[in-house]
C-alpha cells in the first residue's frame, strides 16, 4: 500500500508540471499585464517596476525563474497586494476555505447518507419521493440563490444569525455559509447513494445473505452499505476539493476573506503570481484528494488492493 501511494505521488509530479506550464502559458498569452491601468505610468517608473518583478525578461526565462521558486516552495510576491507574498495570501485564506469546506462536506454526508439510504430502502414511497424532491431542489438551485435566501430568512427576518463576516471563525458566523455550501452536496450524495444502494440490494450476494436468514440490519450494514459507498468515495475525492475551492459565491455573499476572492481579483488584474499560486494549490489538493479516495476505495474493496 505504501509503495502504491509513493508511486501515485511520483506520477503526480509530471501532472502538476503540465498544470503549471499550461497555466503560465495561458496567463502570459492573455492580453494586458499586471501594471496596465487607466492612468499611464511614466515609462521610467514602469520599467523600474517591471525590472523589479523580472517582467522585462523573456517569457521562457520568467517561466524557469518561477519554476525554481515553486520547487523551493516560494510562489513569489503578489503584484496587486504589494506587501504580501502569494504564500502569505494563501496562508491567510486557506484556513477559512478549509474550515467552511470541510464542515460543509461533513454536514452534507451527515444528512445526505441517511437520506439516500432511506430513499433506497423505502423506494417509491412518500419517503423516497420526499428525499428525491429535496435532492432535486438542492441540485437545481444554485448557491448564489440559496445563500442570499438563507441570509434573508435567518439573518434579516429572524435575526438569529449574523448575515456575514468571518468573525474569527465563531460558530454563529459559520452556520449560514456552511449550510448554504453543503446543500447541493447533500443532494448529490443522497442521489448517488440511493442509486448505488439499490444496485447492491439487487445483487445475488445480498439475496444469499437474506437466504441465510441474516437480520435485515446485518444485510444492510454488513453486506450492502460497504459496496454502495464505493461510488460515493470516488465522488467525494474531487467533490471535497470542489467544496474547498469552489466557494467564491459563498465568500462573496458572506464577505469571507478566503482564497477564492484573491483568485478572481488576480485573474482580472493579471496578478500572475496569485493566479499561478492558487492554481497550483488547487492542483495539489485535487491530486491528494483523488489519492485519498483511491486509498479508501482499496480499503473498502479487497479486489482493488494493490
Amino acid at each position: 500500500m505504501l509503495s502504491f501511494i509513493g508511486k501515485r505521488l511520483l506520477v503526480a509530479i509530471p501532472t502538476l508540471l503540465v498544470i503549471i506550464t499550461l497555466a503560465f502559458a495561458l496567463l502570459h498569452a492573455a492580453p494586458g499585464g499586471p501594471f496596465d491601468s487607466d492612468k499611464v505610468l511614466v515609462p521610467e517608473i514602469r520599467a523600474a517596476i517591471e525590472a523589479r518583478y523580472h517582467l522585462d525578461e523573456p517569457v521562457p526565462m520568467q517561466y524557469l525563474r518561477y519554476l525554481g521558486g515553486v520547487v523551493r516552495g516560494d510562489f513569489g510576491p503578489s503584484f496587486q497586494y504589494q506587501d504580501s507574498s502569494v504564500n502569505d495570501l494563501i496562508a491567510q485564506g486557506l484556513p477559512i476555505d478549509l474550515t467552511i469546506g470541510l464542515l460543509a462536506m461533513g454536514l452534507a454526508l451527515l444528512i445526505g447518507v441517511p437520506l439516500g439510504v432511506v430513499a433506497a430502502l423505502r423506494r417509491n414511497t412518500v419517503w423516497d419521493r420526499a428525499a428525491s424532491a429535496i435532492a432535486l431542489l438542492g441540485i437545481s438551485v444554485p448557491t448564489y440563490v440559496t445563500a442570499p435566501l438563507l441570509v434573508l430568512l435567518f439573518a434579516v427576518s429572524l435575526r438569529w444569525l449574523p448575515a456575514g463576516d468571518w468573525g474569527e471563525g465563531a460558530l454563529r458566523n459559520l452556520v449560514l455559509p456552511v449550510v448554504a455550501l453543503s446543500l447541493p452536496y447533500v443532494a448529490y450524495i443522497a442521489r448517488l447513494l440511493r442509486a448505488s444502494l439499490l444496485d447492491v440490494l439487487h445483487t445475488p450476494w445480498v439475496r444469499t445473505a437474506r437466504a441465510k436468514g441474516m437480520p435485515w440490519r446485518t444485510v444492510l450494514l454488513r453486506h450492502a452499505l460497504r459496496p454502495a459507498l464505493l461510488p460515493l468515495v470516488a465522488f467525494l475525492g474531487p467533490a471535497t476539493v470542489g467544496v474547498i475551492t469552489g466557494s467564491i459565491a459563498i465568500e462573496t455573499v458572506f464577505g469571507l476573506p478566503g482564497i477564492g476572492r484573491f483568485f478572481v481579483d488576480g485573474a482580472f488584474n493579471r496578478d500572475y503570481t496569485v493566479v499561478m499560486g492558487v492554481t497550483i494549490l488547487y492542483g495539489v489538493l485535487i491530486v491528494l484528494a483523488n489519492l485519498l479516495a483511491d486509498v479508501v476505495q482499496a480499503l473498502l474493496d479487497p479486489r482493488m488492493r494493490p
Partner: protein
C-alpha cells in the same frame, strides 16, 4: 406416518405483479419429500424452478402473491411471519444458489460470511463460529480451510466457491437443502465431485434435497424422484427410473432428447 416428511408442498402458486397485470410463474405445484431423499426438479430455463425455491424461502420479489401451502417438518412456510421465516432460513431450510461467482459477497472474507450464519442462528461467538466453519469447509473437501477463511471470494476458483456456498448452506444441518443449478456453472470434473459430495452429505446428515436443474444427466446420477416443470406447472413426477424409461409428457420427452444429444452419461442411463 411411516416416513417423516421433510417438505410437503400443496397447491403452491406464485403470481408476480407485472406492468401488464399479474403473471403466474408457479401454478398449483404439489409434491412431498421424505427425509433423506433427493427430489430433482427439471425444466427449461424460465419455467419457474427458481421462483418455486424462492417462494419456499419466503423470498419472492416484492409484490408477489404466494398461495397454497408448504410445510417444513410440519411448520407452515406460506404466509408465515417474517421473523419466523428469517429464523428458519439458513437454519432449517437452506439454499445453494446458481452462480458461485456472484452469490458470495466479494467485499467480505469467506470466514465472515460463513461464521455469521452460526452467530445468528446458533448464537456462537465469532471465534467458535470460525472454528466450526473451518470444519465444515474441510467436510466439503476444501484444502487449507484455515487459510480460506481469511481469503476473499475472488481468490478462490469457481469450484471452490461452489463448495463454500454448499458449506454455508450446511452449517446448521438443515432439514431441507434447496440447490438451484448447483453444478451448472462448473466444469464436468468439479460437477461430479460436487454431486458426490451432495450424495455423501445426504447419507450422513439425513437431509432432504430439492435439486433444481435443466440437466437430465445430473438427475440421472443423483435424484431419487424427478418432477418435470413446464410453464410453472409440474407436468409429471415419479421415481427417476420410471420417468426416464417411460416419459409421459412432451416436456419430459424433449428434455430427455436434449440430454441424449448433449450428455453421454444420460445416454448410457436412458
Amino acid at each position: 406416518m411411516s416416513a417423516v416428511l421433510a417438505l410437503q408442498v400443496d397447491g403452491l402458486s406464485v403470481t408476480h405483479a407485472a406492468a401488464d397485470g399479474a403473471r403466474t410463474v408457479v401454478s398449483d405445484v404439489s409434491f412431498s419429500l421424505p427425509r433423506g431423499r433427493i427430489l430433482g426438479i427439471a425444466g427449461e430455463s424460465g419455467c419457474g424452478k427458481t421462483q418455486l425455491l424462492l417462494a419456499l424461502l419466503g423470498l419472492s420479489p416484492p409484490g408477489a402473491q404466494v398461495g397454497g401451502s408448504a410445510l417444513l417438518s410440519g411448520q407452515q412456510l406460506v404466509g408465515a411471519d417474517r421473523r419466523v421465516l428469517r429464523r428458519l432460513r439458513g437454519n432449517r431450510i437452506a439454499m445453494v444458489f446458481q452462480d458461485p461467482m456472484t452469490a458470495l459477497n466479494p467485499y467480505l472474507t469467506i470466514g465472515t460470511q460463513l461464521a455469521e450464519v452460526l452467530q445468528v442462528h446458533r448464537g456462537l461467538s465469532k471465534s467458535q463460529a470460525l472454528l466450526h466453519s473451518q470444519r465444515m469447509l474441510e467436510a466439503v473437501g476444501i484444502d487449507a480451510p484455515a487459510r480460506r477463511l481469511r481469503q476473499h471470494p475472488h481468490e478462490l476458483s469457481g469450484g471452490m466457491r461452489q463448495r463454500v456456498l454448499l458449506a454455508m448452506a450446511l452449517l446448521c444441518e438443515p432439514d431441507v437443502l434447496l440447490a438451484d443449478e448447483p453444478t451448472t456453472a462448473l466444469d464436468v470434473t468439479v460437477q461430479a465431485q460436487i454431486l458426490d459430495l451432495l450424495l455423501d452429505l445426504r447419507e450422513r446428515l439425513g437431509m432432504a434435497v430439492v435439486l433444481v436443474t435443466h440437466d437430465m444427466g445430473v438427475l440421472a446420477q443423483v435424484a431419487d424422484d424427478v418432477a418435470v416443470m413446464h410453464a410453472g406447472v409440474l407436468v409429471e413426477q415419479g421415481p427417476v427410473q420410471q420417468l426416464f424409461d417411460a416419459p409421459q409428457s412432451t416436456a419430459t420427452q424433449s428434455l430427455l432428447a436434449a440430454a441424449r444429444q448433449l450428455s453421454p452419461t444420460a445416454q448410457g442411463l436412458v
